[in-house]
């Protein structure tokens, strides 16, 4: 006996779309909007910057000038900004657990659904 899914009302369909929209904006956009996510790159400007002190040779100075930046002070933040790659191993392990756990969960639940699909398409397992 083939599974007969219930018919979803228009209101139900709209509600489901709304849930996905809220999930997308809530999980992805709101953290960005609130400044909770993003790059950990911070400038470490030096005092009294000169091109030489910022490690820029003559050719690089020409390149900066062609890009519209002739004052080393204006390039100070750009040149000295660095990512902070220090991290805790626990945080890395948590991330690994998240990613691996997610795939394990999805594959296991999918397999349960897949068996129903195969049984309905090909009949009960012999």
């Amino acid at each position: 006996m083939a599974y007969k899914p219930p018919t979803q009302s228009l209101t139900g369909q709209i509600f489901d779309v709304f849930v996905l929209l809220v999930l997308t904006v809530g999980a992805l956009y709101i953290p960005l909007y609130m400044g909770l996510a993003g790059a950990a790159k911070t400038p470490q400007p030096i005092a009294n910057p000169t091109w030489e002190a910022l490690g820029q040779n003559a050719t690089e100075q020409q390149q900066w000038a062609a890009l519209g930046i002739t004052d080393p002070a204006a390039a100070n933040d750009i040149i000295t900004a660095r990512f902070d790659y220090s991290f805790s191993w626990i945080a890395l392990i948590v991330m690994a657990v998240f990613v691996i756990g997610y795939f394990v969960m999805v594959v296991r639940l999918s397999d349960r659904e897949y068996r129903e699909v195969i049984e309905e398409r090909f009949g009960p397992k012999r």
Binding site: P5, G12, T24, Y29, Q63, F83, Y85, Y102, F103, S110
Partner: protein, 464 residues
């Protein structure tokens, strides 16, 4: 060949089969070529010049594995939705739902990134012409709306348009490279940072750079999204995809060479339009105009392909009731998934108008990365459930399972790369997919017709 109408509604409208290998190439390269025009350079920011180049080649290896695997599975599961249809037949509905979301999110975020770049480019040019402070938002909205309209009107016109503007954008990179090589730049190439500051972050910078190294090629797997609209998918899809990856490897290396030589790496690492900036440094008005056109065309071609691919994935999920079935409609005149096209416009606009470029790019990369991880075990399961002698494949990739294993190792490295500097976004994205998966399994799946999820004329899978 998948014929979705055979089981449910024979009178249902189908997508038109009008595309050839050149369109497949244009769809793949058109989406991706923008990766040379913006975004890849953040890899230089994360690790320095050498790390940027290593990331370019390692990512090229990752995508070669992706193209090999994808060509085999897609040439056999030739149905709209690409990897989504593969997941449905090989792993199961929940995996398919997730893969559909990966595709939609990766392409919609890429579309948003393209729109941001168009606005940024116009602002830069306006500033150079003495009109600084241009309001970018109207141009962002206009770009997204125009391309959505083009997609609404029909796939052939859309991808023919892509073919032309992609070719122009690719030629622009070649012309810039040749001009610089033959003395067309007022400022010489300078690679002294390679010796004076080779690895500003040490070896960890090389790993970190892989994050944005993916951007050189991200989306090439989109070639199989239009499988149901290709005249001869078993031949056209592998041919178009492989030609696309070769094109991109050449373009990526040339791009790194020109930009790293002409733009100081610290500036390059945070630039919005690196190739256009390289053209600015040459001092040549002709090159500046050419790269302005190239950047504009590359972003438009990419956004255009993204709308095409994201809407096909959304449409496929609607047609299968993984999403409300209202999205599974085909336009009676234009034969396009018009409701899906229109629905995704505001989502792209939310991120294009309200999020920074590197973070939008990261969301796109993360969704792509999850999709590549799926491909590794999908390939192994495909060969296990249907060994080579059980079903006819359009293309059989060599050295199985080495490409799948290599891809898994590179994906794991890429997760660590994203974690370095963008760990919070990685966690946010995983939370999104975990909650969405639970929602689908415990609520949405009840509306799905079980037997209709398997439409390929294949025998029963081994072990089931």
């Amino acid at each position: 060949m998948a014929n979705v109408t055979s089981t449910a509604a024979p009178e249902r409208l189908q997508l038109l089969r009008v595309l050839g290998p050149a369109h497949v190439w244009a769809l793949g390269v058109g989406i991706v070529l923008v990766g040379e025009y913006m975004g890849w350079n953040f890899s230089v920011g994360k690790g320095g010049m050498i790390a940027g180049l290593v990331a370019c080649w390692v990512a090229g290896l990752l995508y070669t594995c992706v193209a090999m695997i994808d060509s085999e599975v897609t040439s056999t599961v030739a149905a709209a939705g690409g990897q989504y249809a593969q997941a449905k037949h090989i792993v199961g509905p929940l995996m398919a739902f997730n893969v559909g979301l990966f595709l939609v999110m990766a392409y919609t975020m890429l579309e948003a990134a393209n729109a941001i770049t168009v606005g940024f480019l116009l602002d830069t040019v306006a500033g150079m012409l003495g009109h600084s402070g241009l309001n970018q938002k109207p141009f962002i909205i206009l770009a997204v709306m125009f391309l959505a309209w083009l997609n609404y009107r029909g796939v052939l016109a859309t991808l023919t348009f892509n073919l032309v503007i992609t070719a122009i954008a690719f030629v622009s990179i070649i012309v810039l490279f040749l001009s610089v090589q033959f003395g067309g730049s007022a400022v010489p190439l300078d690679f002294s940072a390679i010796t004076s500051d080779p690895l500003p972050y040490g070896w960890v910078g090389i790993v970190a750079a892989l994050h944005f190294g993916l951007w050189y090629y991200l989306g090439i797997e989109g070639t199989c999204q239009a499988a149901e609209e290709v005249r001869s998918p078993a031949r056209s899809l592998p041919y178009g995809t492989m030609a696309g990856i070769m094109t991109l490897l050449i373009a990526a290396t040339l791009t790194w060479y020109v930009c790293s030589g002409l733009v100081p790496w610290e500036y390059l690492g945070q630039a919005g339009t690196p190739l256009f900036d390289a053209a600015r440094v040459t001092g040549s008005t002709g090159l500046m105009m050419l790269l302005f056109v190239g950047t504009t065309f590359a972003t438009l071609a990419s956004a255009n392909g993204c709308i095409n691919d994201a809407s096909r994935a959304w449409f496929s999920m609607g047609r299968d009731r993984y999403l409300p079935s209202w999205f599974g409609a085909v336009h009676p005149t234009y034969r396009t998934p018009y409701r899906s096209i229109v629905f995704l416009v505001p989502i792209a606009l939310i991120f294009a108008l309200g999020a920074p470029l590197d973070q939008v790019v990261t969301f796109s990369i993360l969704s792509g990365l999850l999709g590549y991880t799926f491909m590794t075990f999908n390939m192994v399961m495909f060969r296990k459930k249907w060994p080579l002698d059980t079903i006819k494949r359009g293309y059989v990739h060599p050295f199985h399972p080495i490409p799948a294993l290599l891809l898994l190792i590179l994906c794991a490295t890429a997760y660590v790369a994203v974690f370095l500097g963008y760990g919070t976004q990685l966690i946010a994205m995983m939370c999104f997919y975990i909650i969405a998966s639970l929602w689908f399994h415990f609520w949405r799946y009840r509306f799905v017709k079980r037997g209709d999820q398997f439409t390929m004329p294949w025998p029963r899978p081994n072990g089931y």
